[in-house]
Symmetry: C2
Subunit: 357 residues, 2 copies
DNA sequence: GTTAGCACTTGATATCAGAGAGTGCTAAAA
DNA sequence: TTTTAGCACTCTCTGATATCAAGTGCTAAC
């Protein structure tokens, strides 16, 4: 019997078991199902069906005389086929929108806020990830003299971000020299990724700068730093105390192991950077390549703009996570972020701000 | 009998109890003391002394037939008088220096790195705080036209940071208009704190701008945003799994409560922003105004430059924290940060970077 | 002032019986 | 053929009891 061929009643029983276990956390028995649900049959029948579902691998018995618990496959089937879609209330959407708008300033802050939001909405631990990338190039350089010994390099990146670095020289440098440096940077480095800025190019610029060649090194260093700032991965967790709300993490050993993995960050960064699926991803237990997550699930969604992944938000919780609620929350948040990112810059029309819907 | 008048032997016993409890975590009995230590007397004598120390409030008995545990006052006395200073190995200093240098880029990153470092060095949870402040003013504005509908405002702050914001206009604005706007901002807003930028000033600028008055609103908004970015408090924890290494946090309830408080951030921010002591601060148990910390200690040190507090780093752990180690680690890290912050900008002399020692 | 010895207290640990929950199986009913 | 009722069986959980070990306080001797 294949997955798709589960009888309607089996599906209903599986769904009931999963949902009962999600909010109780304990094995569910046949009697409980027959009471709570709309299934009209006796506990014995349920028992028979459950035995078959166990044979098929969707349910598991912790010990002989306990109720059933969904297996990983059980959760997977539930998430893929049984969890219903829900309608979003406009009220909620508006609320999220408002919260996110508070600081629509930088993508980092949006991600942070979003993860915080996800955590409070779902009661699981929120995660915000800025994945490693290698996509930034510069589109424009400006140099602003500050005083006789200092100037600032302003860099506009392919992503539209504006970044600045301050440089101090011990030798006074005239404005015209700085102008020349800016022109050269614009001519030689625009459009190049970190891996494309080669030594010959740098040396070429140094040659053109003549006696001021020493400035080039610092300038290039600034470029690298900015690229690294934008491309370098980062990760942040919110609502860690939420782990403690679920008995599966009361085993201190387990929790500690999980936290250690999460804090080392690399594994999660890799895990998430790999998938460039646009949709919500659900990793149940050992489906994730990270071994420690055997008893946890990770649900995440990439935040994209113009095809580029700007970041990832998600939640981490026990395997018996309330997938229905989590999927909804992440969907809502993601939608709102898209709206906000869409018109990230201040948009002015004659003194009044305009918001895109 | 006052604190200072504890007999030498009592001091030694207190010290022994504190240190034994710090690395064992369990109540220490008279027998243990007599074995481990250099005190040459019998367990009965120790018992008598301990009974007196308990009367004086430095020790506490969890129950009648258990060993003694240091009280809050006991720890306080230990930290103030008994913990010896230590010599720093040059090796360690160099190591920290190297680690911190990796990204001497922004104060945020330094703090973050420092807290991570503190956590790994001490095996407690590291904390990095950027306190709320209201000290930023602008010292210089530049406007860079990007294309017909976009320009960037570059702001140089009193702290020397360079910040940029992008602005989009739906109406094309010429370079000369932007130049005028920049001049006005420089003339009117430089040196003013957030609370000093009043409506009359803004309206004055708008008047001068004539038909382009609508630009002023966005510009001012940018200024506020930047000030908020720099002044707004933030807090970040590292090494949370370290909590779980100590049995005092195996009570899930307690840990959860602590984490909740830490994540709400406000209490800690206030707590730390209040003290502008330059030295290392040690808050033991209920000495902190945060109720939940009754069983925890917080040790922190402000990071200053030119008298301004840029941030705070510290560690949080059980009350029986290894104060000796923690004080040393934080001292070392703080020193290194000071060195690094001292020459924050890139300093160039004829092509070679110079580093201040 | 110090020490040895002993009775006492108390938490921790192990063992055991009984209760409760839930199953699997068999035989009867639909 | 499917469903149901009944019953014996298994396994965990709980609470009670007994035992153990650690550490103290106190008294009497040094």
């Amino acid at each position: 019997m294949k997955q798709g061929e589960l009888s309607e009643r089996k599906k209903q029983i599986l769904k009931a078991v999963v949902e009962a276990h999600i909010d109780g956390g304990e094995p569910v028995g046949s009697k409980y199902i027959v009471q709570s649900n709309l299934l009209f049959c006796s506990s014995a029948t349920i028992r028979n069906e459950m035995a078959e579902l166990e044979e098929l691998g969707y349910l598991v018995q912790p010990h002989t005389s306990a109720g059933r618990v969904p297996s990983e496959a059980g959760y997977r089937f539930y998430v893929d086929s049984l969890v219903e879609q829900y309608a979003r209330t406009t009220h909620e959407v508006a609320q999220i929108n408002q919260l996110l708008r508070v600081k629509m300033d930088e993508i980092d802050q949006i991600l942070d806020m979003a993860s915080r939001l996800a955590s409070t909405m779902t009661n699981y631990t929120g995660i915000a990830i800025k994945p490693k990338a290698n996509t930034v190039t510069m589109t424009r350089f400006e140099i602003i003299p500050m005083d006789i010994n200092n100037f600032a390099i302003v860099m506009i990146t392919s992503g539209g971000a504006v970044k600045t670095k301050k440089v101090r020289t011990e030798i006074a440098v005239s404005d015209s020299v700085l102008k020349k440096l800016a022109d050269l940077l614009n001519a030689q480095l625009c459009g190049l990724g970190a891996d494309m800025i080669t030594l010959p190019i740098i040396m070429g610029i140094e040659e053109e700068m003549g006696e001021y060649a020493f400035l080039v090194n610092s300038a290039v260093k600034c470029v690298y730093e900015v690229m690294n700032e934008i491309d370098g991965g980062d990760m942040r967790l919110t609502g860690i105390n939420n782990f403690l709300k679920y008995p599966e993490y009361s085993d201190t050993e387990k929790l500690s192991e999980l936290l250690r993995t999460l804090e080392s960050r690399d594994e999660i960064l890799d895990l998430v950077s790999g998938s460039d699926n646009d949709k919500i991803n659900v990793l149940i237990g050992s489906e994730s390549s990270v071994k420690v997550m055997n008893n946890s699930s990770l649900v995440y969604i990439p935040i994209k703009k113009d095809g580029r992944t700007l970041g990832v938000i998600g939640v981490i919780g026990p395997r018996r996570m309330n997938y229905k609620q989590v999927l909804k929350a992440l969907g809502d948040i993601s939608d709102n972020i898209s709206i906000i990112i869409g018109d990230e810059e201040l948009s002015i029309t004659d003194g009044k701000e305009k918001e895109s819907k």
